[in-house]
């Protein structure tokens, strides 16, 4: 393999010293064959390469470039340097959307990871209808967040929603979950957690199942029970998986938009107006493409920081 990769880097240029046939490292085909192989390889990659160049690398560079301009819908633009970024610093709406997003993340991540971990532990410790319940918990994950938002908007409804009907039976309420500035983010976080926890649950369940049986058996023999075993044996062993799940969910939470668009339109009084919502409005309501691109770069930086923390702490690249 080392010979292969070394040769691969210099493949297009002729090798400096002519190596006579028999001295060629074993397993490396003669040069015309390798050239043919290279051509075939490039041909097979070509469609994806074209798509990635135009629709991934292009827009990524484009985003950085647009953020330094005042590009508008008309196509007119001027290079304005870091003006958009200076504007960000002074923009109250930007700071409030960043605050909303961070607060939402603080509600969503513990809720989702707690729910995932709880259900994963439950399923791990019982054999009773395990497959059935795994399916039941995972089912919301295959639906769309828009669907979840539409259903839960009705569940939260003040007048005839399910939740207020239940509260009514207990002689409580009515509570306007989506109309109350303090409740709207937890309410949306609960909806997203319902929709998505099945994914993290499966990852955690796989992690639990990969813990060697001997370890927990040894803990049982040592007399460790229940919480102590969970706290001192299971969770430490599960840490890398748990951390992976935490970061993935945090990255997802920071991109929240769909649920807010459908459930609250950012309200009440921008209490659920997230960073991506601001980006969407800036780009597609006000067509201020340059400024929207600067917002996109902020989002990218946040996600990058999350990923770097993950790499640092887990020590591998997922």
């Amino acid at each position: 393999m080392t010979a292969g990769t070394a040769g691969e880097r210099t493949a297009p240029t002729p090798e400096p010293v002519a190596v006579p046939g028999p001295a060629r490292p074993a397993g490396r085909p003669p040069r015309p064959v390798r050239r043919r192989e290279a051509r075939v390889g490039l041909l097979f990659v070509a469609p994806m390469l074209l798509l990635f160049t135009v629709f991934r690398f292009g827009p990524t560079i484009g985003a950085a470039f647009l953020s330094l301009t005042d590009y508008r819908l008309s196509g007119d633009w001027r290079f304005i340097g870091v003006e958009n970024y200076a504007r960000l610093l002074d923009d109250d709406l930007f700071w409030s959307s960043l605050g909303v997003t961070a607060l939402y993340t603080l509600f969503f991540v513990p809720l989702t990871v707690g729910l995932s971990l709880g259900t994963a532990l439950l399923l791990h410790r019982t054999l009773w209808l395990r497959g059935f319940f795994r399916g039941v918990f995972f089912l919301p994950y295959v639906t769309s967040i828009v669907l979840a938002a539409v259903i839960w908007k009705w569940i939260y409804d003040v007048e005839d929603g399910l939740l207020n009907a239940a509260l009514g039976v207990l002689s409580l309420g009515p509570v306007d979950f989506l109309g109350d500035e303090r409740l709207v983010l937890p309410a949306i976080a609960a909806t997203s957690a319902w929709k998505g926890f099945g994914y993290s649950m499966l990852i955690l369940l796989a992690g639990l199942q990969s813990i060697p049986r001997e370890v927990s058996e040894a803990a049982v023999i040592d007399g460790a029970t229940g919480w102590r075993r969970l706290r001192w044996v299971t969770l430490p062993l599960l840490r890398p998986v748990l951390f992976f799940v935490l970061v993935v969910e945090a990255i997802g939470a920071f991109q929240v938009f769909d649920a807010m668009y459908v459930m609250t339109a950012g309200g009440p009084v921008r209490a659920s107006y997230s960073l991506v919502y601001l980006l969407y409005d800036t780009g597609f309501k006000f067509f201020d493409f340059g400024y929207a691109s600067a917002l996109g770069l902020v989002l990218f930086l946040v996600v990058l920081v999350f990923s770097l923390i993950q790499r640092r702490l887990i020590g591998r690249d997922d």
Partner: protein, 267 residues
């Protein structure tokens, strides 16, 4: 006592997970106006009325067709291009192979929303707003698909390809008759995920399909919600939207859950 606690807890969580689906269906079948609870739960009065109303009132059949085109065409093209690229990355040596592969993978670090604006500008300059190609083509550059394909094809023994090569088969023939049959299980898994990702996608169809005729079901459902359509009809629309997901899920449950646990597929 302790042995009973686990199943009871499981059943409770299961009940909470399923309740939203149950109320969606109940409200969808309740008589129009019957959106408050007692009425909605009276199964003897169940009716198809909301479904026929939502089907005749909105462009919902058109949206369903759009969703189907968006999802199915994307599945076919992503499977084809990613398995081709995966074969090359796994089994062919060519200049720049590692750099290309890792730069494909690196795009996972850039959230889609961060590049949404240049994406839109590019596609609209190319005349792709309100077109099927504008909707579909930009979503085909899928790093996870390429990664999964490379990992899977790399495990196949080289001798298989050598044997075919000695028999004089062309590379395309080797790809279609040796590679594709061997990776059918992983193609099926990926296909299901790509279908669900596209069927449930929202932000890109929202910005690129601007007229109602080009909405997908998720976008259409969100616009219904925004207009003053009766809750019963919205729930009927929601039921229609979720049906294909439930079908795919019902048929492939074990498959889906196992592959998430082993490969961590997530959009």
């Amino acid at each position: 006592m302790a042995r009973l606690r686990l199943p009871v807890l499981l059943a409770l969580v299961g009940l909470v997970t399923m309740t939203p689906f149950a109320v969606m269906v109940l409200v969808a079948f309740a008589p129009p106006g019957g959106r408050t609870l007692p009425g909605a739960f009276d199964l003897t009065r169940a009716t198809w009325e909301n479904f026929s109303a939502v089907l005749s009132g909105a462009d919902i059949t058109r949206w369903a067709a759009n969703s189907l085109v968006y999802s199915l065409v994307s599945v076919v093209l992503i499977l084809l291009f990613s398995s081709m690229a995966g074969y090359a990355f796994a089994k062919k040596r060519f200049p720049g192979r590692e750099v290309l592969f890792w730069s494909f993978l690196a795009t996972l670090m850039v959230p889609f929303q961060a590049t949404l604006v240049p994406y839109f500008v590019l596609v609209s300059r190319l005349g792709g707003v309100d077109t099927y190609w504008g909707l579909i083509v930009p979503t085909l550059a899928n790093s996870q698909a390429v990664f999964l394909m490379r990992q899977f094809i790399a495990q196949l023994p080289d001798e298989l390809f050598e044997a075919a090569r000695i028999d004089g088969a062309s590379e395309w023939r080797i790809y279609t008759t040796v590679v594709v049959p061997l990776i059918t299980p992983v193609l099926a898994t990926l296909g299901v995920f790509v279908f669900l990702w596209h069927w449930n996608d929202f932000l890109w169809p929202l910005v690129i399909g601007q007229s109602s005729r080009m909405h997908t079901l998720t976008v259409g459902l969100a616009t219904l919600e925004g207009e003053n359509v009766a809750v019963n009809q919205i729930m009927a629309g929601a039921t229609i939207t979720v049906l294909p997901c439930l079908l795919v899920f019902g048929l492939l449950q074990r498959y889906l859950t196992d592959s998430i646990a082993t490969t961590g597929l997530k959009n």
